[in-house]
Amino acid sequence: MRQTLSTPRVARLAAHPLFLCGFRPFYLATAAYGVLLLALWSAMLAGALPAPAVPGGAVAWHVHELLYGFAMASVAGFLLTAVPEFTGCASVGRLGLLYLSLLWLAGRVAYWLAGSLGIWPAALLNLAFVAWLAALLAPPVWRDPGRPHLSFLYALAALAAAQAGVFFGTDPMAWLYAATGVMMILMIVAMSRISMRLINGMLEEDGVVDVNYLARPPRRNLAVFSIGLFTMTEFLLPGNSVAGWLALAASAALLNLLNDWHIGRALFNRWIFMLYAVYWLMALGYGLIGLSLLADWALLSAGRHLLLAGAMSLAIFAVMVVAGRIHAGYWLDRRPWVPVAVGLIVTAALARVSASLLPGSLLMALSAGLWIMAFALFLWHLWQPLTHPRPDDADGCAEPVRTQETPANEFAC
């Protein structure tokens, strides 16, 4: 009986434009939850709020929610949009998307209440979310000839394994560091797919004909391999100098990856530079981690923040601001708020590093504030595209339709 009563209401909710395409609810959730998390965390650090009583402690909560709440939502949004596009298969339906979003939300609530509910509800809901996401993506990825996008599934499996370790392992932080490595690898894999099209499209648009950008697999594989090796070693030998050398190797491999990107003046195009800066932040982060492990510098946490608050946040922002508009039927955003937000994220990451060098709550609060501003700007400007019907009244995730009015050299992702 209940089922029949609630179905029309659910169907009405699922008919909202928010559930038109996979990225819409999740990009919105990413930015909104990010702003909320950092605001709460700052308040907790200032002593204005009590820390949540979750197993593993407040720091584990902070890292887990930013990785598995904030970043995981953006990963879900990205994969639910990109995999159907890459493989040419149908996207998840509106109802499925609604339930998946609710499952994500339930996972957040359950973890927040883990202090009183126990860890089981949080673990089940969170792992069910990743499992469902993987189940939605696996058939198209598997059926794709040659299976070029299989690495996304491996990354999801590794993220789920690390999350299970956070919930049930003895040292949640070690598992969260492992998850950080997996997230970095996932970002490199995802960005290589995006950057080829984005950069060459930009070059074409700017009329640059003699430069061609190629994301060369050997360089990317070296970076992925060295990050994987570091992550595994740090997990098995925490605080060991062997991991320090491997972190330096990862840093060098990332700088080596930038060889592909040195394509001259075109690099300073805002969309290209944004992705380029992600690799720099990642390289600096691993460099700082390596030096901290080798020379006993107290900058381990600063290095991790360069990876997460810097590189990961910037990558998430970049992908969301491009795909969040293009797949909602809008052209790329050329307003100045985009570079401003990029600058805010980079400055926030650097301020967080300085906060490790010169302990003081002011720099920490400044860092959090700048970061919040960047994602608040995203919410402000992307609210309309994400929650309203497409301007071209088309359905699904298609790119904006080329009409006579739009310039022919306009670029679509």
Binding site: R219, W245, A253, N259, L294
Partner: protein
């Protein structure tokens, strides 16, 4: 001029491509570090300890003089083998008979272990400078000789005909047709010989002289000072890498640029 400018503009990109090498070297250092942790500092000092010892050594004057002595010997022997080997190899390559005749001799020279040459050199020259220099020379000579020989032997006969048909001036024939081809064989041989010269000179010094890096290695070994031994080894390897990647490799890329187009 524009070539020179293109070369200078290419320098940052070349240096930046070194990050890939840095990544693999750091992984090697990680493996070394792991070995140090398993076997202890007495057997294998850690990379960081080695680096500290090396910096300590380099802070003094003696280390620099030892390095300078070794570098002088290695480079002298290398230069000798380069000059004599290249000249003789090129000449031998011009004549089929000469190259046929020289092959077995080169085989003997290549097959002769450097340590045997060292023993002979010690008998002939004693503990003087000439011993390591001669050993380096005689060990590097066959490598350079074979490179030069093959360079001239593999010259394309049809290209010779083309130069004749077009009546190319002799200078142009030499610089634009013969030299690029020969150099593309000579250069790898030179680089191989340079790497060889550093290894040989340290070995020769270890056994025959009272100064130089090899002698310093012998002293640190007799003191059971593994950290100092590793530091000296690191110094030699770093110098070799620097010379190869900062001097020889860029030149090699420049002179072999035509291959990508060919």
């Amino acid at each position: 001029m524009s070539l020179l400018r293109a070369w200078f503009v290419g320098i940052p990109a070349y240096l930046w491509s070194g990050w890939g090498a840095m990544a693999s070297l750091c992984m090697f250092l990680a493996l070394w570090d792991w070995g140090a942790q398993v076997y202890g500092d007495l057997v294998l000092p850690s990379p960081v300890a080695t680096l500290h010892t090396l910096l300590g050594l380099l802070a003094g004057v003696e280390a620099w003089t030892e390095l300078a002595i070794t570098a002088r010997r290695a480079l002298l022997g290398f230069a000798l083998s380069l000059g004599v080997g290249s000249a003789l190899g090129l000449l031998a390559g011009l004549s089929m008979t000469a190259s046929m005749m020289s092959r077995p001799i080169v085989t003997v020279l290549v097959g002769m272990p450097p340590i045997a040459w060292l023993v002979l050199a010690m008998l002939w020259f004693g503990a003087a400078d000439a011993t390591p220099i001669f050993t380096v020379f005689i060990a590097c000579f066959p490598i350079v000789f074979v490179g030069a020989l093959q360079g001239t032997r593999t010259l394309d006969d049809q290209l010779k005909d083309v130069t004749r048909v077009y009546r190319l001036p002799a200078r142009m024939t030499l610089t634009d047709v013969y030299l690029p081809h020969v150099v593309s064989y000579l250069f790898p041989a030179w680089i191989a010989a340079l790497g060889m010269s550093w290894k040989i000179v340290v070995m020769a010094e270890l056994l025959s002289t009272a100064d130089g890096v090899g002698a310093a290695l012998a002293v640190s070994r007799s003191h059971l000072d593994t950290a100092a031994s590793m530091a000296w080894i690191a110094a030699v390897v770093i110098l070799l890498l620097a010379v190869e990647y900062l001097v020889l490799e860029p030149i090699k890329r420049e002179v072999e640029g035509w291959r990508a187009l060919a």
